[in-house]
């Protein structure tokens, strides 16, 4: 299984952001991580990306322990954060070239061109981040994540700042990558997107996993929702609203 999280706990001083969280994501799966603000979604993704060290617990990427062999594990994953963080003095093309060098991508030119076309970044290759809109910068971050063929894709609010066409293309891109065999973990507040794209949903609240399954499975559980509920109704019910 490409993503395995076991008893992940992360604290910030006295505050526990994620508490004893365990789950896995298989190849070809798109798992939606949803929950109210402060539920621990971003902390989970950042721990999985190797940005935050877990206070307790284990994370494995493609069977590689992230804490024991971080370099090998990171080589296999791509994290696309909600806030597009770019190097202010590198152009779009230079960002892609940098990632290609970091991940030792051979067919950089072809892949770069394909992504520039796919994400509609044509004509912006020589632009600095300061000259791009927020949506464009988000696209550059996503291009940097997708230029390598990572087996694990982590998206934190991937649609923030994108226009309707961009949103549609991004949905198609995520599904295509999963079909190609990637394990995708996606955090979003856009429940209709999660319902439409994800094969499974994990609902978090106050650092805990409170539900895990397909939308149909969750809807069929009497303790979670009334029969035939959609994801939004399930979400509101399990989070106590």
């Amino acid at each position: 299984m490409p993503i395995v999280i076991e008893q992940l706990t992360r604290t910030f001083g006295p505050f526990t952001a994620v508490d004893d969280l365990s789950f896995g994501v298989d190849s070809g799966e798109i798992v939606g991580l949803i929950g109210p603000n402060g539920a621990g979604k971003t902390t989970t993704l950042r721990a999985l990306a190797g940005i935050l060290r877990p206070t307790r617990g284990r994370i494995r990427v493609d069977e590689i322990d992230l804490l024991e062999r971080p370099i090998d594990a990171k080589r296999r994953l791509a994290f696309m954060p909600d806030e597009p963080r770019l190097f202010e003095y590198l152009t779009v093309e230079e960002h892609l070239r940098l990632i290609a060098r970091l991940y030792e991508i051979d067919d950089f030119a072809a892949r770069s061109q394909a992504l520039v076309d796919e994400l509609e970044l044509k004509g912006k290759e020589r632009a600095l981040p300061g000259e791009l809109s927020r949506g464009m910068r988000q696209k550059v971050v996503i291009a940097c994540g997708l230029i390598r063929r990572a087996s694990v894709l982590l998206f934190d609010e991937p649609l923030t700042g994108l226009d309707p066409i961009g949103i549609r293309r991004m949905r198609e891109t995520i599904v295509a990558r999963a079909r190609a065999g990637a394990a995708v973990l996606l955090s979003s507040h856009l429940l209709h997107l999660v319902e439409e794209v994800c094969t499974r949903v994990i609902i978090m609240d106050h650092g805990h996993k409170i539900a895990d399954g397909t939308v149909a499975e969750l809807a069929s559980r009497a303790d979670l929702a009334a029969a035939g509920s959609n994801l939004e109704q399930i979400f509101l019910r399990v989070t106590g609203h």
């Binding site: 910030f12 950042r46 990306a49 190797g50 940005i51 935050l52 060290r53 971080p70 370099i71 090998d72 594990a73 990171k74 080589r75 994953l77 994290f79 954060p81 597009p84 963080r85 770019l86 190097f87 202010e88 003095y89 590198l90 152009t91 230079e94 070239r97 940098l98 290609a100 060098r101 970091l102 991940y103 030792e104 051979d106 950089f108 020589r126 600095l128 981040p129 300061g130 000259e131 809109s133 927020r134 910068r137």
Partner: protein
């Protein structure tokens, strides 16, 4: 709008004080506060108390008289030069920068741009008052004297900051309407003033100065000249109250100073329509606002070399660092270089006279030596193009599959190369002209000293960068990211502790190499003479380089363990 601005300003100031008091619960801020307060006490109050016990407070009577006559003239001349530089060097002025919240709340609000500038002016008052307060404590004066200095410097800072903002607005309006002659009037007046004052400066500075007193005398001669006096009149109204004791004339000078401030504010507000252009970058987006002032497109995307598809991680970081250095360098850099160069010229010229040497070649050699020494000592402190700067991107770097030690080494390469290149250029210049400044030294000595200095420089520079990065990784909470820094006495104390630790660590790093080099020197200098310096410097450099390599390897785990949440964020 004024009521709203005052509300924002006062509430923010009150809450800032609360936050600073609350953060004293953290040991690092508490220690910092203790050290900062102790520093202030010993540097200002204790020294004053000691002085008070021995002699009367303030300078001696003859000196005081001289200060009152010459001081304002020299200060007015300096302010005039800075005022001219503000037009030459592009700067938006902190006053026009909106915070994220201001951009989000005030830009969509039904406010005119004039009101927006007025709001920024009101918000700048707390900072100007605080600057005045610092000045009041820094000058040797009694209780009421301090109040006088505080009020005078507050008026000065208000005017100066407003002027910088006004220049930014006026420049923008000129750029928008270059054909409207009215827009060029301030430039024309200033240009004529520069010609007049420049002629007097050239006349006075035909020969190098012999001492600091000589520099002050000449500056006062320039400022005292009839036409220059007229030009400097508005600047004199701003600086004169600082030097004038309590009297009726002080009240009159304050009125004049307030009128100058009012005129500056009026002029700035008259150009407020250009605010829209200055805020053109998406205002609610911090990243975009923090982007560099946009130079010409060709220069902006100039790349020193292309990144190879394969190679060591260190090379990748060196490439990234080089691009950062090349592309972040702008005319704004002149703001720092011009005062530094001026100080170097004055210091070089003074040192030259003190040594009894003459001629342009000797002057250049002395100046270049000072620049080389200054670069080694302060370069690594100033050129923060390493992990200290890249901490703001740490969330991206941490996701990369690279060896932590390689990241640490790679981050240091570009700034080491930059500072070393500047230092080598200065050493080479000093060596070329050294014969004039050091006629008693033989060719072999001069060459040996220059080569040894060139060999040892990268080690000294690299050692300092290593120490800075050690502290950045081991104590990330103590290192500020980018240009934004935490403020307050506690933060100042933290920086003092860090500075002391850096100096101590640097001595520890340099010691083994220096000892080895010293032994070599003692063993062979009688046999070989001056050229012994070269292998001694080589030994020193090799030892320090090994230490730096070991340090970077040892820092790997620290980088891996680094908690991104613990990095200090500026205010």
């Amino acid at each position: 709008m004024i009521a709203a601005s005052l509300y924002i300003t006062l509430c923010s100031a009150r809450n800032r004080v609360r936050v600073r008091l609350r953060r004293l619960r953290e040991p690092r801020y508490l220690f910092g506060a203790i050290v900062g307060a102790a520093y202030l006490y010993f540097a200002v109050f204790a020294r004053m108390a000691g002085r008070r016990g021995r002699v009367r407070l303030g300078p001696p009577p003859d000196m005081s008289l001289r200060l009152q006559t010459v001081g304002p003239l020299v200060a007015a001349l300096v302010v005039f030069v800075l005022a001219v530089l503000t037009w030459v060097v592009p700067a938006t002025g902190a006053m026009l920068s909106l915070s994220d919240a201001e951009a989000a709340f005030l830009l969509p609000a039904p406010l005119s741009r004039r009101q927006l500038v007025a709001h920024r002016l009101i918000r700048a008052q707390i900072g100007a008052l605080f600057a005045g307060l610092i000045m009041a404590f820094a000058v040797p004066a009694a209780g009421l004297g301090r109040l006088r200095v505080m009020l005078s410097t507050w008026l000065f800072f208000v005017t100066a900051r407003t002027y910088v903002a006004g220049v930014a607005l006026a420049r923008t309006r000129i750029a928008l309407e270059p054909k409207r002659l009215a827009r060029w009037v301030p430039v024309g007046i200033l240009g004529a003033a520069v010609l007049v004052v420049g002629a007097f400066i050239i006349r006075e500075w035909m020969l190098p100065a012999s001492s600091v007193a000589d520099v002050i005398d000449r500056a006062s001669h320039i400022a005292d000249a009839g036409p220059v006096q007229v030009i400097l009149a508005p600047f004199l109204t701003l600086v004169r109250p600082v030097f004038t004791p309590w009297s009726l004339s002080l009240a009159l000078w304050w009125i004049a100073s307030a009128l100058t401030a009012a005129a500056t504010i009026g002029w700035t507000l008259s150009n407020a329509s250009a605010m829209d252009v200055i805020l053109e970058a998406p205002p609610a987006n911090r990243a975009a606002r923090e982007a560099p002032a946009q130079p010409a497109r060709a220069a902006r995307v100039w790349t020193p070399w292309q990144l190879a598809a394969r190679g060591r991680t260190e090379g990748l970081f060196a490439w990234k660092g080089a691009l950062l250095i090349v592309r972040s360098a702008s005319l704004g850099t002149l703001r720092y270089l011009i005062p530094l160069a001026s100080m170097a010229v004055i210091a070089g010229s003074t040192a030259l006279r003190g040594g009894g040497y003459h001629g342009a070649a000797a002057f250049v050699a002395t100046l270049a030596t000072m620049i080389a020494a200054g670069t080694i000592l302060f370069g690594p402190q100033v050129a923060r193009f390493d992990l200290r700067e890249d901490f703001k991107n740490i969330e991206v770097l941490k996701t990369w599959p690279v060896s932590p030690a390689a990241v640490v080494r790679g981050e240091m390469l570009a700034p080491i190369a930059l500072v070393t290149a500047i230092c080598w250029a200065a050493i080479a210049t000093a060596w070329l002209f050294a014969a004039a400044a050091t006629p008693n030294l033989g060719v072999a000595w001069r060459a040996s000293i220059a080569i040894a200095a060139a060999i040892a420089a990268p080690a000294l520079i690299g050692g300092q960068f290593a120490v800075h990065n050690v502290f950045a990784l081991l104590f990330p909470a103590w290192v500020s990211v980018g240009n934004e820094r935490p403020r307050g006495i506690d933060a100042m104390g933290q920086r003092l502790i860090l500075l002391a630790a850096v100096i101590l660590s640097l001595i520890v790093i340099a010691l083994p190499g220096a000892l080895a080099a010293g032994i070599l020197w003692l063993a062979f200098q009688r046999l070989i003479g001056a050229p012994t310096l070269v292998p001694a410097a080589l030994v020193f450099t090799v030892v320090v380089a090994i230490e730096v390599a070991i340090i970077s390897e040892l820092l790997g785990p620290a980088y891996e363990r680094l908690d991104v949440m613990s990095i200090e964020r500026g205010e």
